[in-house]
């Protein structure tokens, strides 16, 4: 399971303040705690800074990478900001994200083909958000085809089936789960990725719903996830499920995490 740590996002007040003040210690601290909790990538998102987004994102890339030896997940719907941040990134970043929306696809294409990188491909078409499994699979398949046609290896593509709230449409959870299964079967070697918290919008005890959904996504074949790795209950679910799915030889990671005190029951 590839873990993308989601905490460095300026929609969180403490992060926005730290970016505003260019507080290196604080940002590095948040990156380090996620790295120590098992993150494989550190997500950086400065979307709330609007016109200053690109500057802030670049500052985050340099600040985190100067202290932490991990690749970053550059997170923005803004191709210009992603392009600048990608140029400053050392190693292979994860670009989050490209979609079928024509402008976004065209302006990001040169970014993702000009350097080795991992790409999150969001199942969003030109005109609408997907509702059914079928719509997700169709948009995801088209994105995979377009990206591989440009020479991008399947293994570097992470299809995000787009998680939507079950509070609004009770079929939204299962639609995403079935899309994950179908995409993983139809394109052996491709990755699937998603965030969890959208699924629980509008409902109480969201953490419970989120970690239950994580277990179901993993059972459907999800290979990467965007989450808060310092959430011990969530990580405990992730490690337990990974083990139960037969992907943790000798139960090593699960037991290590227990002995290191990084998971809670």
């Amino acid at each position: 399971m590839i873990i993308v740590g989601e905490k460095i996002n300026t929609s969180r007040r403490s992060i926005a303040e730290a970016v505003e003040k260019r507080d290196t210690d604080f940002i590095v601290g948040v990156a380090r705690e996620q790295a120590e909790a098992g993150a494989n990538y550190i997500d950086v998102n400065a979307g709330t800074f609007l016109e200053q987004e690109a500057d802030c994102l670049c500052w985050l890339v340099e600040t985190v990478q100067n202290s932490i030896d991990l690749p970053l997940c550059l997170d923005s719907p803004n191709p210009a900001a992603l392009s600048e941040a990608a140029r400053r990134h050392r190693g292979e970043p994860m670009i989050n994200s490209i979609s079928l929306e024509a402008d976004r696809f065209q302006s990001l294409l040169p970014v993702v083909t000009s350097q080795p990188c991992h790409i999150v491909a969001l199942c969003m078409s030109e005109t609408s958000m997907p509702i059914t499994t079928e719509e997700r699979v169709q948009v995801g398949s088209e994105l995979i085809k377009k990206l591989t046609d440009e020479g991008i290896p399947l293994g570097k593509i992470y299809v995000d089936p787009l998680v939507q709230p079950v509070s609004v449409d009770i079929q939204m959870g299962i639609a995403t789960l079935n899309a994950i299964t179908r995409l993983m079967n139809d394109f052996p070697g491709v990755n699937t990725i998603c965030g969890l918290s959208n699924v629980s919008f509008g409902l109480p005890e969201r953490h419970l719903i989120n970690r239950s959904f994580l277990a179901l996504c993993m059972a459907s074949g999800l290979s990467a996830v965007i989450l808060d790795p310092t959430d011990k209950k969530l990580m405990a679910t992730l490690l337990a499920v990974d083990m139960l799915l037969g992907q943790d030889e000798y139960c090593e990671k699960y037991i290590d995490a227990y002995q290191n005190g990084t998971i809670a029951g």
Partner: protein, 212 residues
């Protein structure tokens, strides 16, 4: 609320069978149509919005209550003559240009409709020109805009500017909302109000129009 206690309770719970039966009773008793709508249905939905804003009630319950109200309205609509019901106000709503997110906008639209506003919903990815054109046509009291992406937020001030150029800014109140949108941003772009959720969107709209 007293007179329509059973109807109010059924709408609040989202119990369609009981609500439509109570509604039929009220219609058969020849109650005033506006009175049934205001005190039987809207009063219950106001309570739903209030409880939702306080976190005492959740999105599926809100949707269910609104669905129940819609089913009740279906019983009364064939009987309505023009002018029988006065809307609380007219609202033109849409998700701004470049943005395809509609869940929050739909919840706001639904709760406003349930509160007695007349809604014109332009859908998603609505360019400023479209807001202007439709505003000229329906003459709304409120123009409500939603954005879920920081990249699409700038379409809000652009739409406000377009309303200004068309000479409509003084005639409408502008409300905005969406995950990245804040009260501060509303001030910055000179919107008239910011609402953080569907329940408070209704109370903010009423406040803007001076309705209690």
């Amino acid at each position: 609320m007293g007179e329509y206690k059973a109807l109010n309770g059924a709408v609040l719970k989202g119990d369609i069978n009981t609500a439509t039966a109570e509604m039929q009773k009220a219609i058969d008793a020849d109650k005033n149509v506006q009175d049934i709508i205001d005190n039987g249905l809207i009063a219950a939905m106001d309570e739903v919005g209030e409880r939702f804003s306080k976190g005492l009630l959740f999105v599926p319950q809100m949707l269910r209550a609104a669905k129940t109200m819609q089913e009740c309205m279906k019983l009364i609509e064939p009987l309505l003559q023009k002018g029988d019901v006065t809307p609380k106000g007219k609202v033109l709503i849409g998700t701004v240009r470049g943005d395809l997110h509609d869940i929050g906008k739909n919840l706001v639209s639904m709760m406003m409709e349930s509160a007695g506003f007349m809604i014109t919903d332009l859908g998603v990815d609505v360019p400023p020109e479209k807001f202007v054109q439709k505003a000229q046509e329906v003459e709304p009291d409120i123009v409500a805009m939603s954005a879920l992406l920081s990249t699409t937020m700038p379409a809000m001030p652009q739409t406000i500017e377009a309303l200004g150029k068309a000479g409509l800014r003084a005639k409408v109140k502008v409300m905005i909302g969406g995950a990245p949108v804040t009260e501060n941003y509303a001030h910055e772009i000179r919107a008239d109000a910011y609402a953080s959720d569907a329940g408070s969107a209704v109370s903010k709209a009423k406040k803007l129009l001076g309705i209690s």
